[in-house]
Symmetry: C2
Subunit: 713 residues, 2 copies
């Protein structure tokens, strides 16, 4: 079928695979959106194969409805849209996926959109993810009976107003007030200062009719702390903001422009007493404040575990968010012929850029990271399901561990995904800089995840607090959490100042690349840094306050947190690959190579950041062993090279979901890029004529009489 050189090259690269790609696709999607809603309440779980075909059918329908199936036609997204048009396109897309889920009774777009972005990138996503969940947790039965059906039927579209212009996740800082007025039996919602303006909430500016609003409850001048109120913000009749509320959009962002992140100011807005979500605290008509104390702790655990669901989705996204740009870069790399290696015969033909060692090395090591994230996510999903089951039986014992694990994975995976997406973009050279490549939007989409839903530096600190608590328990002779027993096995010796660096001193050449050895090297690294961070903090806290000690040791805590995450991810990946060895043995060779590659790239320090301390400082590997590892990496990436396209095809991205002139499955890069370029409005509307002809344009500039001084030239 291939009709030009690039398509031939793509076909050849695809044929080179050593495994059956669809089997890997089944594994990748196993557990995601894999149900058919056979009744209002029941999800029929698909088998792996049915799940993939159901997903493909859903994509096909949605992409047809959105008119995205002609891949030589310039995608609407690139047709010169300004802020307004990008938002309207977001409305159109958000409607399409919700309509499809309802009509065809599935949940494929529950977490990720038809472009593999988080669903909060649509104007409707947060109504379910945050608005409904808050009401579900904070409302009385009566309130739920009122609100939940309206949300479920999408009669209202809601958002979640916590962040303020001057205040983020630090809840105590919230300035918005809700003052009870017993005379009218109402609360008065008010933004007393400029910094109290709600700023950033998704969906707020343009899309929502209702909001849950975090505000300080005040009764008779007494501050009762932050509470949640459900407030209508926009009329459902004439769409105008409710009187007293100023609403707006925060304008263009790096990405996520299909939704509106907005601002809201409240000017003494009166809402009925029933607006207070009152499951955990009530205000009576006379202004009495009633808060049952006994269930407070249990309640805040419930809130925590809700946040975890959001984080779980972000971790899942990270795998797909990294795999997408890598798919584009891999496909472009096999068809893009450019230059020859240094010292080649001058008559040699140009080679595909994938042939350069630096190109396939980078591609394949990053691909190993995408799979590592995927497998770590699946392990987390399993642990989280166990926890949910226990929770439904009233047992919240594992919450601290699950929460700590979620912080580690959230911070680590989003960092890796964002950095890897940008690296993939760079691998496409100049073309990766052009919007039509699809890569700038992928990178920009990835960039936000490091700072939202738990800023990563905050995440790392929460993880460390948990790990330190576990050590405290251990030091006091208690039992660490059951989930931590294996991880902290033999850790105690690292706390002794005279400790030699453990059992790892003598790694022989034949053991060096064994999965258990590699895992031990990561565990040793994690233990060493954790012990050193703990000791530093403990020493410091003897001479200063805990807060000062913590802050002054921060740059030692971060590497220890990072090392824990790396260890957990490798452990998860190795476990999953072992499982697959049983269920799909034909995939074992390629996946075990990826797993080994991931471990080796981590140990040799191919990827780093402010919060990494090199493994070489551990003193357990010799310089020769590091050399051997690098030689081994070179060998593995060569072995994996024939599987490059299959390893990216396996993610099963549709052309429309990639939205990239460089990344379509057929490899027809240049024809598509030229076709799209010619259809750009800037070209069809002959902007040049306008730019030259207008007053102040190029023509009258060139016609002017002047002389540039020579010294400037």
């Amino acid at each position: 079928m291939a009709s030009n050189r690039q398509m031939v090259l793509m076909e050849q690269a695809r044929q080179a695979a050593t495994f059956d790609q669809i089997k890997l696709t089944h594994i990748i999607y196993d557990g995601y959106g894999d149900g058919f809603l056979c009744s209002e309440y029941h999800l029929l779980i698909y088998g792996r194969e049915e799940n993939v075909s159901s997903r493909r059918a859903a994509f096909q329908r949605v992409e047809s409805a959105l008119e995205l199936t002609d891949d030589m036609k310039l995608p609407h997204m690139y047709s010169g849209l300004d802020r307004n048009a990008l938002y309207l396109e977001g409305v159109r897309r958000g409607r399409a996926i919700i309509d499809d889920m309802i009509l065809y009774k599935h949940n494929q777009f529950e977490n990720l959109t038809e472009r593999y972005q988080l669903t909060n990138s649509t104007p409707f996503g947060l109504s379910f993810v945050m608005f409904r969940r808050t009401i579900d947790l904070q409302a009385t039965l009566e309130q739920k009976q009122l609100w939940l059906p309206l949300i479920d039927q999408m009669k209202v579209n809601g958002c979640y107003l916590q962040t303020e212009l001057g205040h983020g996740s630090h809840v105590r800082g919230i300035e918005t007030t809700a003052t009870f007025d017993p005379d009218t039996d109402e609360f008065v919602i008010h933004s007393p200062t400029l910094t109290a303006t709600k700023y950033w909430p998704g969906g707020l500016g343009l899309s929502c009719s209702h909001a849950v609003v975090a505000a300080k409850l005040r009764i008779r001048d007494k501050d009762r702390g932050m509470h949640w109120f459900v407030v209508q913000i926009r009329s459902l009749d004439d769409f105008a903001p409710v009187s007293g509320i100023e609403l707006g959009d925060v304008g263009m962002k790096m990405a996520y422009n299909g939704t509106c992140n907005g601002y809201a100011r409240f000017n003494h807005v009166q809402v009925p007493r029933s607006s207070l979500l009152a499951a955990h605290a009530q205000v009576l008509p006379d202004g009495s404040y009633i808060r049952p104390v006994d269930n407070n702790q249990q309640f805040s655990k419930q809130v925590y575990s809700t946040m975890l669901q959001v984080r779980q989705v972000i971790i899942q996204w990270a795998a797909f968010g990294l795999a997408q740009p890598l798919t584009v870069a891999a496909r472009y790399s096999v068809v893009r012929e450019q230059g020859v290696p240094m010292f080649s015969d001058p008559r040699a033909p140009e080679v595909a850029i994938v042939a350069y060692k630096s190109q396939h090395y980078r591609l394949l090591t990053l691909i190993s990271q995408a799979y590592a994230i995927l497998f770590a996510c699946k392990e987390f999903d399993d642990k989280f399901s166990d926890f949910q089951r226990e929770k439904s039986q009233g047992n919240l014992d594992r919450l601290p561990f699950i929460h700590a694990l979620s912080t580690a994975l959230k911070a680590w995976t989003t960092n890796i995904a964002a950095a890897g997406a940008e690296e993939a973009r760079k691998m496409c050279g100049g073309q990766g800089y052009v919007a039509l490549s699809g890569l700038p939007e992928m990178v920009a989409t990835a960039c936000v995840t490091a700072t939202f839903e738990g800023e990563n530096y905050v995440m790392w600190q929460q993880l460390m607090r948990y790990l330190f608590k576990q050590i405290d328990v251990m030091q006091a002779g208690g039992r660490v959490d059951s989930d931590m027993v294996e991880c902290l096995h033999e850790f105690k010796q690292y706390l002794r100042s005279d400790a030699e660096c453990s059992h790892l001193k003598l790694i022989t050449a034949d053991q060096l690349f064994a999965p258990s050895t590699l895992r031990s090297i990561l565990q040793n690294h994690h233990h060493r840094l954790l012990a050193s961070a703990y000791s530093a903090y403990t020493r410091k806290s003897q001479v200063s306050s805990a807060a000062e000690a913590w802050n002054s040791c921060l740059m030692r805590l971060l590497p220890a947190a990072h090392a824990y995450a790396e260890y957990i991810v490798l452990q998860s990946m190795q476990r999953r690959v072992e499982m697959i060895q049983q269920s799909e043995p034909s995939l074992f060779p390629v996946l075990s190579r990826l797993s080994e590659l991931f471990a080796l790239m981590t140990i040799t320090g191919s990827v780093s950041s402010f919060h990494v301390i090199p493994f070489a400082e551990d003193g357990v590997l010799t310089s020769d062993q590091f050399d051997a590892m690098r030689i081994r990496i070179d060998k593995i990436v060569s072995e994996l090279l024939p599987d490059l396209i299959a390893l990216t095809d396996a993610w099963d991205f549709t052309d429309a979901s990639l939205n990239s002139a460089l990344g379509c499955r057929d490899g027809n890069v240049y024809e598509r890029l030229m076709s799209w370029t010619r259809q750009l409005p800037v070209n069809t509307q002959d902007l040049a004529k306008h730019a030259w002809g207008i007053p102040g344009g190029i023509q009258d500039f060139l016609k002017r009489e002047r002389q540039m001084p020579k010294a400037m030239l």
Copy 2:
């Protein structure tokens, strides 16, 4: 003057400085745009102080002309511009800076625009940078007499067409043909394939009337290789493309949208024989081809040295391109109060985010990098001036070294600037994701430099080829280039397989932080990696071709190249700081701290990438010494903290050049952000009303009768 809390905090942070900021400003701008054109041919060199005041005056005039002086008014750039409007704004800005330079006879915007972007980000920048230079080098005297006055008077606007859709810097791959037709005495310029389309050249799509075109010269079916032709591409009367030429824009890019990167296809376009730039090869009317052989090598050296000027400007840009986002992040960090350190008293007030160790550590280490780039650039400028002087005397001996140095600095500085800009953006949390912060555009502007004007992976390889040649000379008993003597001092011992890792084994505690020790550690690292890369390549080339050996060793060459760059940069920084100790002793304490910080962050591996091997593998520093270095870094960043604002103020960026609601000098972050937000067209035009009311809008979506299945919620 400060009228709100943020402005008070900013004023306090500014007052805390330990040095006189303006003295550092004088040093930063020393040598840049520092002349007054007192006659057509002569540049009167300013003193340092005059230079800064001249620059400030130029910015003031230009910003007035562009109506950018009201910093509470939404900048035009953020007023919802689409592709077309962004380009027209680029025309307006490009005209303003050129007009100002001509009218006020200065060269402040010769390299960097009024926003500190490279001048090729305007529609007129490449006419001087590339179009004129190519004609100057390649044209006969007669041709120069025709074209140069037209360019200098800006009667024509030119671009440089080399890159094709399927071909980049690999000149042999160029497919565009120029076929000589003796019957008409014309060349026929033609794009024979789709991949021959000229694609990417700056200014091509919309802005230029003329182009220099790289094409394969064909005479009587004989291919004479690539030659340059000057071709009119657009009518100066009706602005239409010349008949037979298809022109267009490549659409939106991550940044640089004030200019047009374009494409051009030639359909048998006839141009006179005089279009061939004929300084080095001529075609006679009968089709005879004449090329003097003797000056070929000299000529290609001239071409090379022209490229170096472009690279020099990029290196300069990198310092400013990193300092800009750091200025924004530093200013936001001192006024943004958010949360309290872990374990703080729950009643403690929120602290400015700069107080968190991770925040000021990152800010100050990155600031040390910005200064390191600046000083490395100034050292390079001096070496390049020496070279230019020698070249004017016909001596091109230092070209290989200067070229190699330029590749090292281009690749290293652009990587550091792009990564640092993104880190600065992340340090501003969610706000850094919003366009109004100015940070997304700064990051996007920085991103392109790694791939353009010499892709960085190509740069590293050119550097390594030079270094290997120097080793070959050394091994053969010859003399290395004079500029390399100091750098390769004592290198030879590293090539012996039994070599102990040098003289560095015994670093005592009191020497550890001496500048000479730190420099030695970097030199040793550079030597070790260079020797190991050279040995690996030599071994490999005994069993395979040089090209195969090179490619297979690529991942060992890159760390060696990177280590050379780091060594050179530290050396340059230390030299400059020593010089400043003589001329401005009051600046020595702060600058020597920055220099030490830069060295220590490099050694401890705070910043890393695919092409870095940790210093710990060198085996010269103990684990305790690395610990001591990290403790020392903590101490230095604490000492530098009072100077944070002065160190960023010193770059003297105007508010309009930063174009950031978060980064203005006065610290009035929240009022400005809200003011700008309210002025966004999306808000003034009430997009919500439109989005709700239109068919397919939100209103009819919410009104629909439906039930979301419970299992999805």
